[in-house]
Symmetry: C3
Subunit: 498 residues, 3 copies
């Protein structure tokens, strides 16, 4: 009985507890960034920050529209992409919203801690963007677990993953000074392998036997809403945080990588099908792999044709992944991957990391001019080096590590390797936590891939024609032996919670 009450209250109390913690931590340590505050003069009549003659308002950062594009990718893109399952659409778009709402608050705190401003976390459009990026990692992980985990489990995953995500990003960006403008390594690879290793630990035979892991015609069309919004706005994802022409280039490279990826996905999807037809799963997912694969090198001078090649190869890799690798991983490695995040995010992100290392290796001042040092800050000469002064007179950079192109490429690969290691180890450990902490709830049997396990579901819609058919048969006395109506008995709460 106590257990029943606990089951019943476990989830709301967890959420309320978290929200109260967030409020307390925000009250203690979060404040508006300087750019989002009024200009206030100090007591001695002098302005703290700028001369009185300047405008009293600072403008909203001009990449706010790009933030909104990313925001759409997180909530509509990921949310609807996952609605493809026939009976899991409420959870797909609903829990996607919940997990992202938890993640953006928590990532603001944790990410702010790692980026440290003397104990205070400063919020601005930039922090919103990085919080949205962090939530993307969580939602990719959710894609691997879709339909097989309880809301309680997923919230716990979110809390743990954001910490490890921020830690890994700190190592990669701050310590290794690796660059990854579209987050392919730090977001996509991390989220995918974290989820896949968790999925391995949580593997159960009954998942394979579920008849609900499939789509219906209209659920596949809902899913395409997600696909198309992700596809369209990916240029903003890969460029939002880059400056000027880097940003312009990141938009162009992503746009063309995705165009090529889309074309090749249709080709390979047809090629590997026994009837030469397209598989909706490939179109929903593999068309996007080009956006992941070009993510690390998007702002580099990879050339428009380079973007097309990266997009094309990503499509091949991704479709082959869906067709051959995922079934094999499920059967042999016992890694069940509901959305195929390995094919959309995992492998293309590894490709992105390698392409990024290649781009870093080829980067020179001949192509980049002085902006090279801004793009790869570790390549700025060390303090007291010859040439430092000249560089610093052209671009606004700090003294760096004097890395060579080869050195930068090496650190890019190290950052990729460390990301994979932290994701896999973290995912395994988190999987054990979910597995061995009792009472977190977990869908089984008929509750796998089934909304009614966690949602009040509307009464099934019985077409008028069917009711008429039943009535006719009744009238024909075929069903006289049973007094009760067959089709009108459904109650709203038919499926009760396990």
């Amino acid at each position: 009985m106590a257990s029943l009450v606990f089951n019943r209250l476990r989830f709301p109390l967890l959420l309320l507890f978290l929200q109260i913690v967030f409020i307390v931590l925000f009250a203690m340590s979060v404040d508006y960034d300087e750019s989002a505050r009024p200009v206030v003069e100090s007591k001695d009549g002098h302005n703290d920050t700028k001369p009185a003659a300047e405008p009293i308002h600072q403008p909203l950062p001009e990449y706010y529209p790009m933030f909104q594009d990313v925001h759409v990718m997180i909530f509509i893109g990921f949310g609807f992409l996952m609605t493809f399952l026939k009976r899991y659409g409420f959870s797909a778009v609903g829990l996607n919203l919940l997990l992202a709402a938890v993640a953006i608050q928590w990532a603001t705190l944790v990410g702010g801690f790692f980026h440290g401003h003397g104990g205070t976390v400063h919020i601005s459009i930039t922090s919103m963007l990085t919080a949205d990026f962090a939530s993307a990692a969580v939602l990719i992980t959710y894609g691997a677990l879709l339909g097989k985990t309880s809301p309680t489990q997923l919230v716990i995953v979110t809390i743990i993953e954001i910490i490890l995500f921020s830690f890994n990003e700190y190592i990669g960006v701050t310590m290794f000074q690796a660059v990854d403008i579209g987050g392919s390594m730090f977001v996509h690879a991390f989220g995918a392998y974290f989820g896949l290793s968790m999925s391995r630990v949580l593997y159960r035979e009954d998942v394979a036997r579920s008849k609900k892991e499939g789509s219906v015609y209209h659920s596949d069309i809902f899913s395409m809403i997600g696909t198309v919004f992700l596809w369209m706005f990916w240029p903003s994802f890969n460029s939002a945080l880059a400056p000027g022409d880097d940003q312009h280039r990141a938009v162009l490279n992503t746009y063309f990588a995705l165009a090529a990826c889309c074309v090749v996905t249709f080709a390979i999807s047809s090629l590997v099908d026994k009837h030469g037809k397209f598989d909706m799963v490939h179109i929903q997912n593999a068309t996007l792999a080009g956006g992941v694969a070009v993510g690390t090198s998007a702002d580099m001078m990879i050339g428009p044709f380079g973007a097309l090649i990266i997009g094309s190869l990503a499509a091949i890799l991704s479709v082959i992944g869906y067709k051959y690798i995922s079934p094999w991983m499920n059967a042999k490695l016992k890694i069940h991957d509901t959305c195929g995040v390995h094919n959309l995010h995992g492998m293309p992100a590894i490709m992105a990391g390698i392409a990024g290392a290649g781009g870093a290796f080829l980067a020179s001042t001949e192509q980049y001019g002085y902006s090279l040092y801004e793009q790869f800050p570790a390549r700025v000469p060390t303090v007291n080096s010859t040439g430092l002064a000249e560089i610093m007179s052209h671009v606004n950079v700090e003294p760096g590590l004097g890395r060579s192109a080869m050195g930068q490429a090496g650190y890019q690969l190290v950052a990729l390797a460390v990301t994979l290691a932290i994701a896999i180890v973290g995912g395994v450990l988190t999987g054990f936590i979910l597995k061995y902490i009792p009472g977190l709830g977990r869908p089984m049997g008929d509750n796998l891939f089934e909304d009614s396990a966690t949602w009040e579901i509307p009464e099934e819609d019985i077409p008028a024609a069917m009711l008429e058919l039943e009535t006719s048969f009744r009238r024909a006395n075929v069903l006289q032996e049973s007094g009760r109506p067959l089709l009108h008995k459904h109650e709203k709460d038919g499926a009760s919670m396990p």
Copy 2:
């Protein structure tokens, strides 16, 4: 017979009449704003407006992308949010489009009249934004009436409501100098209580007995398209018309209020459910209440944790509203509220007004610097006051009323009270107009919550498997007594207009 012809022509003739009136009034009194006109030199060779050396083009206002976000909220957001009913999706998204298209033209005229530029209405991105805001009030009202009113009635409501809306906004903004950056009082509270009081007057018993006031699985997912777009773009709604850092802050506060609101909505929805499950109605609606509740104070220095608290409280209020207050209002007060606008817009908007008064009470130059006077223009000292000159040397403001913080807070509450009064009285009167003017049409019985009353509906989709089932039973001679096919007889115009 004449009555039949009138019924048939009533609606198209009303619309055509209105559109002709709009064209005539636009021809008489609407012109492009200065910012949307070419720079033309006067005859004496001098430029009317700016020196010849300046660029001949003025830039598009930089908040155009925010306008588009708001536009998406109005047409996709409100439109799809209301598609949750199983058989009212065409009307939800279709009439939403129609009413907003009427409202934005009419609001441009009426709003322009109240803001007066010597008889000429100037149109620009700003006027488009305010017209979209006005249409939001109408669509909130539509939410209370959804499924129970004819298109003719709704168009009449739109015409009347826009006038009262503009009048109330004029009183609140111009006379009381109350601030309400996100329109929580002037849009949300107004639209909700206008609709609810109209719904009271139009109350009929047969509405409660309708079996069509419910959702089906996929209609609930359509509705989530609206929810998520509203949720994502609400920061633009609450900030579009604010300057610089105020705008930045409004974005941040709304973003975090909504994140907290979403988390708490899931918690409370589960808490109040007898199986501990989520109710889709709560997720579709209460997750948005935080955007309403923070609307008045969004650009104030409420602090990030303040935004989280406002969002959390709004969620609790809204879910409790859906679970307990709406059924009670329906049963006891005879106020039927199809979309629960009282819970999503009404109560959270009252909360917003109170929070806004609190924010105004706490506002001081210590936190806001000179921008305080821009944010609360009534706080600028009166003409000839000490200190006025100094203030006017820092910010671009007119002499004000010299209000204290307490005074401003008081006027905020007065504006809220007046808004509620005008909305309720206006709604009751409009309800009587709809009720007692004969021949406006009104869905009853089977036509309640039913698209086929006003739309040509495609033939019902009979699954192939069902046709096969019928054929098999026929073959088994069960249905020999009836010669006609059961499932193939549906004609396109099955349901004729009442």
Copy 3:
């Protein structure tokens, strides 16, 4: 047998071949535009392009958010608008994505060739916008052919159409110096009449007999997603490439034209229906005709009331087209137009061309000031004319052709006529290519308007209630004579490729 293999490989090999060609041509001739490249100093220490003191980054063009709006129109707008057919949603949104992905790569190359920069094509946000515009023409053509052509045929159409589109645009814009800011002539009229004439050549009787050319309830709601996004973002489509106040005006005129168009569409749709109800086809399509009809004159000084009139007339024309002209064209002219592109794009675009000529005829320096010469470059006086120096001191234009207002209006009409001629002749020839080249595949009979001809379709969703009904009848021994289950036999690949 060889033929079977060819059928099976035809499509993927065509796509892979195209993508390889694109990559090779991009490698040979496409590079980032100057604005998307880092600033690199030349060897002698001097910057090639700008003084060293300037910022090293050039900003992303400020119309990037407008590009994203247009992008949404292309992929969500057109894609979902076409999902209205009951069994063709995968192809609608899926092939829309594919064709646009082919088109934007190919249009970048072909358009770049016509706009010539010494053999190199420069890519930037502007080239992305023009490539998206070109793909719109292809997708309009697709609308006329929807459900009746194979993917192979459609890709061939795309390749041919983009060439003719670019050629026609070159003639109209560069040779005739006609203006068409929203592409109503060069995109909408071209795409529509190209598709309609192709449809005439490919006409077959069996199309008329297909029972699948219709919608179901939810497919019509999916389609409204496309409608509403097109409706909302059309102001960006008609203004993205205009400067400053022209852009502002184009936004305003389009916004109001669409509002009026929406109101009048509802009126006329009800008026022409025998029950006075709305027809969803009209609402999905004719509400948008105002955006097309105002496209050519959107940035001109047509006055806000002029925009309302254009939008209203477009609605009348479009609804009458759907109700009377399309059925007549199908029956008498043997032109079958699945989406009614003649009514949404064709006729309104002709109206746009005429309105544009009218606007050009009325344009004078009194209204436009010196910006007249920027808006109509051919009106700039010729070299050595009096007045040229004065004009060039005010606006950044080249010496022109000294055209009169009447002359400009004439060339506008000539450009329209040439567009129609090239579209119709080109469409007929392309139709013959599709018709007489063997082995391109073509849906017939049951495969018309049917996704399963080209897509692996999920097993039909048999409602639980139906399965229960069958079981009950079985239990009642009605179906004992047949041992096999009726409703569980469907296999995933039920429909095999023809």
